[in-house]
């Protein structure tokens, strides 16, 4: 189906299709790098490029060895038949980084979501003083160059023995997640009808009940999106981890960073593929949430 009106002239037609081709190329630029890592991660050879065998779709040119390597890399005894899974769980570098990433990500998300939601509720009140200044301050962790945030955190935290600890990393990541919670929850609250709060209060609900029974269920999609943003920020963060993490606190991005620098192997591509799948899952969750909240607010017809 063409969007051209039937009376369009030749020049218009040419431009119409040229424009679409240009846009197609830009979309290709956006998506190719992400798609390319997937087939490459099944390369049987330790290269970052397609072998002739792969191009002729020879099954022998493909293997899952790099995915296996994620589980075996750094294991104490990768050939052990007994307790293999136990060994991978405890000793594989990538599995350990995965555990660290989830642990640090989850706790920092809890902190930034709790504090951020509370602050967003306060900010959305019309009588909030110094609104713009405070908003600018709360968003600033997203704006300040990460190297400076990381250096500051490392310098100050090391004075209190918080550098090279999980606590330090969780706190620093919580700081970085806050802007995302603030932005998303504030955006949800823009459409929030304050008279619902007044109605609840006039019927005798105290502020805490009002918050959890009336306000929270309605802004929950926004809070969850904010939390997902905060989680992915921590999950993807590497600059702070480079500065502040000891070897045992390595996260996936940190492990990838040194992998890319030191011994470049397709294991990195396998990990990348796993991460892409995780981000697709998160993106789908967010999209569902967005649709749900639009439906609830009556913004969409369906």
């Amino acid at each position: 189906m063409s969007g051209l009106p039937p009376y369009a002239g030749l020049g218009e037609r040419i431009w119409y299709y040229t424009f679409r081709v240009i846009c197609g190329l830009i979309f290709l630029f956006l998506i190719t790098p992400i798609l390319i890592v997937m087939p490459l991660s099944f390369n049987v050879e330790p290269y970052f490029s397609f072998t002739p065998g792969m191009l002729s779709l020879n099954p022998e040119a493909f293997s899952t060895r790099w995915y296996l390597d994620i589980l075996q890399n750094g294991m104490a005894n990768p050939d052990a038949t007994e307790g293999w899974w136990a060994d991978a769980w405890a000793n594989s570098q990538w599995v350990r980084s995965m555990k660290n990433s989830f642990y640090i990500g989850t706790l920092s998300t809890l902190i930034s979501t709790a504090l951020g939601t509370l602050a967003a509720v306060g900010l959305s009140r019309s009588e909030m003083p110094f609104k713009n200044g405070i908003m600018a301050l709360l968003i600033s962790p997203m704006i300040v160059p990460l190297v400076i945030t990381a250096a500051g955190a490392f310098y100050a935290f090391s004075q209190f023995n918080l550098a090279y600890t999980y606590t330090g990393l969780i706190l620093a990541h919580a700081v970085l997640g806050i802007p995302f919670v603030i932005i998303t929850v504030t955006a949800t609250l823009v459409g929030f009808d304050q008279s619902l709060v007044r109605a609840a209060q006039s019927m005798g609900a105290n502020p805490v009940t009002t918050f959890f029974k009336v306000q929270m269920p309605l802004i929950l999609p926004g809070v969850i999106s904010g939390a997902l943003f905060a989680f992915i920020t921590s999950f993807d963060e590497v600059v702070v981890v480079i500065q502040m993490a000891a070897a045992e606190q390595r996260t996936i991005p940190r492990q990838m960073f040194s992998g890319i620098r030191e011994q470049i192997s397709p294991t990195i591509l396998a990990v990348a593929t796993v991460l892409v799948i995780i981000s697709v899952a998160l993106l789908a969750t967010l999209e569902l949430l967005r649709r749900r909240s639009e439906r609830l607010r009556g913004l969409s017809a369906s």
Binding site: E12, W15, F19, C23, I26, F27, F29, L30, I31, P33, I34, I36, V37, F48, F50, L118, A119, G122, R125, E127, M128, P129, I134, M135, L138, I139, S140, P141, V144, P145, L146, V147, I148, T149, A151, G152, A153, Y155, A156, F157, A172, F180, T184, S225, I232, D236, I242, Q243, P253, M256, F257, I260, R261, I264, A272, L275, V276, S279, L283, L286
Partner: protein, 417 residues
């Protein structure tokens, strides 16, 4: 009309209503503020004060003054040009003995070495023998190392002894402070920082322009297509946005390296000879391509949300009045997208200017940015003071841009996804 003065309206308990209202409003303000305060305190403790504390190191350095108290005192009144006195040499020997005992001589030597290269070995080797030296200290110290008679060494110590110093800022801007306090340019071959700042600005600016050139057409397409199609295409923008930066950087290494996918294609199609493959990565070009890819969604999303809000009837009206397609676009549509261009461009520029990961991985020598240098001084050369001074300059630029962004776009208009 009665001739008595109008009495204030009273609330039920007899206080003036105005006062009651003011009090109630104050309470509500306080309530709102109390909700925000936990986060404010959290950020103050774990974000703002750490950064402030760290940046203060850019002008505060008390290492020499604490470790070498006698020398610092002896140098306090020295004018920086007359011959050092015996008392100054005596103080120096005393400090050298002390720092050697406390094992802090290494730090002191490193500190002075920043002012005068070659000073490190002079300090450490002399300190080893300082305990056995006897008066007159001037002669015995010069006998150990001839260099101690050199006034340069004393000037370097004088510079290092200042607790509050502009020396690091001077260095961050390719200048240096002399013993008499005046500031001059560094010698030609040591002027690296200004060049680096300019390169950082240049790369950020280029990335912003490329993002605008690539982002504008697709934002326009997304905003004008029917919702169902545009939501589908939007995934192509959001998926990269949500994918880890390291994944994307890795992918670009796979694409661009000399044995990579693109070069293989070029060789296959005969664009390049097999032995003369293009070097598209580990240089500035690699940084530019990867950063443009990573920051493109930051441009598309604000542009899209602005374009979505432009009623299509405006362009139709222009055309019905006789405008050509080009005039209708350029005179009617484009001016309305300027807020989106501003929002996207400043956002991309702000994020680009502080970039670290991508240049570190694919930048090679000439694709490095100022953040890489700050990191180098933090973790490798351990010159935290210089890192702090460079960081302050960078942060200053970013904060100015942030302020501009707030003025033009408004921080509460920032949207994600």
């Amino acid at each position: 009309m009665s001739d008595t003065a109008p009495s204030p309206v009273l609330a039920a308990d007899g206080t003036p209503l105005k006062a009651r209202l003011a009090r109630a409003m104050f309470r509500r303000k306080l309530d709102a503020f109390l909700l925000v305060s936990p986060l404010l305190i959290f950020l103050a403790v774990f974000f703002i004060s750490p950064i402030g504390w760290f940046l203060a190191k850019g002008f505060h350095d008390d290492l020499f003054a604490t470790e070498m108290p006698n020398t610092t005192a002896a140098l306090a009144d020295w004018d920086g040009s007359t011959e050092p006195t015996e008392a100054q040499y005596a103080a120096l020997v005393q400090d050298l003995v002390e720092t050697r005992k406390k094992k802090t001589i290494g730090k002191v030597a490193t500190r002075v070495n920043r002012e005068l290269s070659g000073a490190r070995s002079l300090f450490t080797s002399s300190a080893r023998r300082a305990a056995r030296l006897e008066a007159p200290f001037k002669d015995s110290l010069v006998a150990v190392k001839k260099k101690w008679a050199d006034i340069e060494v004393w000037q370097a110590m004088k510079a290092a002894s200042r607790t509050f110093t502009v020396g690091y800022y001077a260095n961050a801007l390719d200048r240096k402070q002399l013993a008499d306090g005046s500031i001059v340019m560094q010698p030609e071959q040591r002027r690296i920082h200004v060049k680096l700042f300019l390169r950082t600005l240049e790369i950020s600016l280029q990335v912003t322009v490329y993002c605008l050139l690539l982002g504008y057409p697709i934002a326009y397409l997304l905003a004008t297509l029917p919702n169902r199609t545009s939501n589908l295409l939007m995934i192509l923008v959001l998926l990269p946005f949500w994918t880890s930066i390291l994944v994307r950087t890795t992918a670009w290494i796979a694409m661009l390296q000399s044995q990579g996918v693109l070069n293989d294609l070029f060789v296959f199609f005969g664009v390049a000879a097999d032995e003369a493959r293009f070097s598209m990565i580990y240089n500035k070009l690699g940084t530019l391509i990867a950063m443009t890819h990573i920051l493109l969604p930051f441009m598309v999303l604000p542009l899209y949300s602005v374009m979505k809000g432009i009623p299509p009837s405006y362009v139709r009206a222009a055309k019905s009045l006789g405008a050509t397609n080009w005039t209708a676009f350029w005179r009617v549509y484009a001016p309305q997208t300027v807020p989106g261009i501003g929002a996207g461009a400043i956002l991309v520029f702000i994020v680009a200017i502080g970039y670290y990961i991508t240049p570190a991985l694919v930048g090679g020598q000439d694709g490095q940015m100022i953040s890489n240098f700050i990191d180098f001084h933090m973790r490798r050369s351990l010159n935290w003071n210089l890192a702090a001074a460079l960081g302050t300059v960078l942060l200053g630029v970013v904060l100015i841009l942030y302020w501009v962004y707030d003025r033009i776009v408004g921080i509460d208009n920032m949207k994600l996804g």
